[in-house]
């Protein structure tokens, strides 16, 4: 039984079929890539997995339970964390607050009576763990910056940190490396790998940085025009002529 599985997802928007009978599965502790040309439906699939969009057909299950009808927050509380391709941050809050919110909301029951009795205030240990994660993502010392003062790449890192702070069992990352250069991308990959080793979550990665997908993931799904065209071990997928024609062009791993 897979940890997170989607069966036969179909999603249509006015006139176009963004996803057409797509099935994927993800195990605990696995790293899986999801690639495809622009507009192939990768982000739409993420939205269906998390419940931001309701597919017309198909089902999503998590840890053996059918979650197709659950609202977004229930899925998040089950342990699905994600980042957004178009950054979605809490405007008006500091960088550290982002992590603190995520941690609180996940761990505390958040009952009003606890707040009223003063049991809901953040504890020093929590703040420390937030700062430690920021440090390891290379955002050390930025905890107090307002979120609006960050550059695009930094904002993405904060999103990753926020997702990790919810103690997820599955993390969905939508182009985490855009806005980062090669060295920073490598550093992010290392950090992710380390934290994944500690926590054992499954990781689904959408990326156009093929270099990163090739070096980081074990398995890869390829979408084109809403349909799954191939899947399998990453190196094999990268050699697939259909994938090359639709997506990679004359890219050769390890040359950029």
């Amino acid at each position: 039984m897979s940890l997170l599985a989607a069966e036969g997802i179909t999603k249509r928007f006015a006139g176009i079929t963004a996803l057409d009978d797509v099935s994927i599965a993800l195990e605990e502790g696995e790293r899986v890539g999801l690639i495809g040309p622009n507009g192939a439906g990768k982000t739409t699939l993420f939205n269906c997995l998390l419940g931001l969009l309701r597919p017309e057909a198909g089902s999503v299950s998590f840890d053996g339970h059918d979650i197709t009808r659950l609202p977004v927050y229930r899925r998040a509380r089950l342990g699905i964390g994600r980042t957004f391709q178009r950054v979605e941050l809490f405007s008006g809050s500091s960088v550290r607050d982002h992590l603190l919110f995520a941690h609180r909301i996940r761990s505390g029951t958040g009952a009003l009576w606890k707040d009223v009795l003063g049991l809901g205030l953040p504890k020093p240990a929590e703040i420390e763990s937030c700062d430690a994660l920021l440090e390891s993502l290379g955002l050390g010392g930025m905890g107090d910056e307002p979120i609006e003062a960050l550059s695009l790449g930094q904002s993405r890192l904060v999103e990753v940190a926020r997702a990790l702070m919810t103690q997820p069992r599955v993390v969905l990352l939508d182009e985490p490396s855009s806005g980062l250069d090669r060295a920073e991308t490598n550093a992010l990959a290392e950090t992710l790998a380390r934290i994944q080793l500690e926590q054992g979550f499954g990781l689904l990665l959408v990326e156009h940085d093929v270099e990163l997908v090739a070096s980081f993931t074990e398995r890869t799904y390829v979408l084109n025009f809403g349909r799954l065209i191939t899947s399998g071990d990453t190196p094999e997928v990268m050699q697939d002529p259909e994938v090359r024609a639709a997506y990679l062009g004359d890219f050769v791993a390890g040359t950029q």
Binding site: F13, I16, G36, P37, N38, G39, T43, T44, Q85, R86, A149, L150, S151, L152, G153, Q154, E175, S178, G179, L180, D181, R182, A183, E184, N186, A187, H208, D209, V210, A246, Y247, L248, G249, D250, F251, T255, Q256
Partner: protein
């Protein structure tokens, strides 16, 4: 107004250009309210020259691009366009002077359809039939958005929005094209295509200032590279020499 470029203390590594450069930043400092972002940046883009602006996440590349297109007014220093002082001039005058800027991220009007986005861009310089021709050429350049010409731009996928933003400027050959995070979010095969078009535009006489994280393409296209670090220029010179200098600088920093 139309005076010749002053022979101000030119930055050491820049060869003094013979003719009047299209764009010149002289000792520019820039800030966002209390947050300082650029320190004494001097930079020229000559007639027909192509310059790659490189640097790590948060180094200030976007800020340089914004200063160069009038979006951010420098707190000190001057901005010259074709030898005219544009320091305190608003962005629409830059555009009229032929400086076009594709901002990073999703730089489209989210409530407009694809076609309205392009019409707005083309209608300043074209009459009705000219706009129609320009639309046709834009759609030839990027077939994916041609199929979605009546879709609301805000609902396009991330990459499609980037294509739309690029289509706005790639149809014409402006005097100076500033493209921020050029290949961000684009599939590798599309990136190749965009660079091919850029090559053609360059050959038609457009100067280019390109911000790019994936250096392979940028260095292949450009004559000169400028490396930013912590808001100041740390190196600039011809691209042939750049590969080693820049690569070393970036990888050293990231590898620690």
């Amino acid at each position: 107004m139309n005076g010749p470029a002053e022979t101000a203390a030119a930055p050491v590594a820049t060869p003094a250009p013979l003719e009047i450069p299209v764009l010149e930043l002289r000792h520019v400092n820039a800030a966002y309210g209390p947050f300082r972002a650029l320190f004494d940046v001097s930079l020229t883009v000559g007639e027909g020259e192509t310059v790659a602006l490189l640097g790590r996440n948060g180094a200030g590349k976007t800020t340089v691009a914004r200063v160069a297109s009038g979006l951010v007014e420098p707190t000190e220093g001057e901005v010259m366009v074709d030898g005219n002082d544009f320091t305190k001039v608003r962005a629409h005058r830059y555009a009229k002077a032929g400086v076009v800027h594709v901002p990073e991220g999703r730089a489209v009007f989210g409530d407009f359809t694809v076609e309205e986005n392009l019409t707005l861009a083309f209608s300043r310089t074209h009459d009705r039939s000219g706009v129609r021709n320009a639309l046709t050429r834009a759609f030839e350049l990027f077939p994916p958005i041609a199929q979605r010409r009546r879709q609301i731009a805000g609902t396009l996928s991330g990459g499609e929005q980037r294509m739309l933003a690029m289509a706005r400027v790639l149809v014409e050959s402006p005097r100076l094209l500033i493209a921020d995070e050029l290949s961000l979010g684009l599939a590798p095969i599309v990136t190749d295509e965009v660079y091919a078009v850029l090559g053609r535009i360059r050959d038609a006489g457009t100067s280019l200032l390109i911000v790019e994280q994936h250096m392979g393409h940028a260095l292949a296209l450009c004559d000169r590279a400028v490396l930013l670090d912590h808001g100041a220029i740390s190196w600039q010179g011809p691209t042939e020499e750049a590969a080693e200098a820049i690569g070393a600088a970036l990888f050293d920093a990231g590898a620690q």
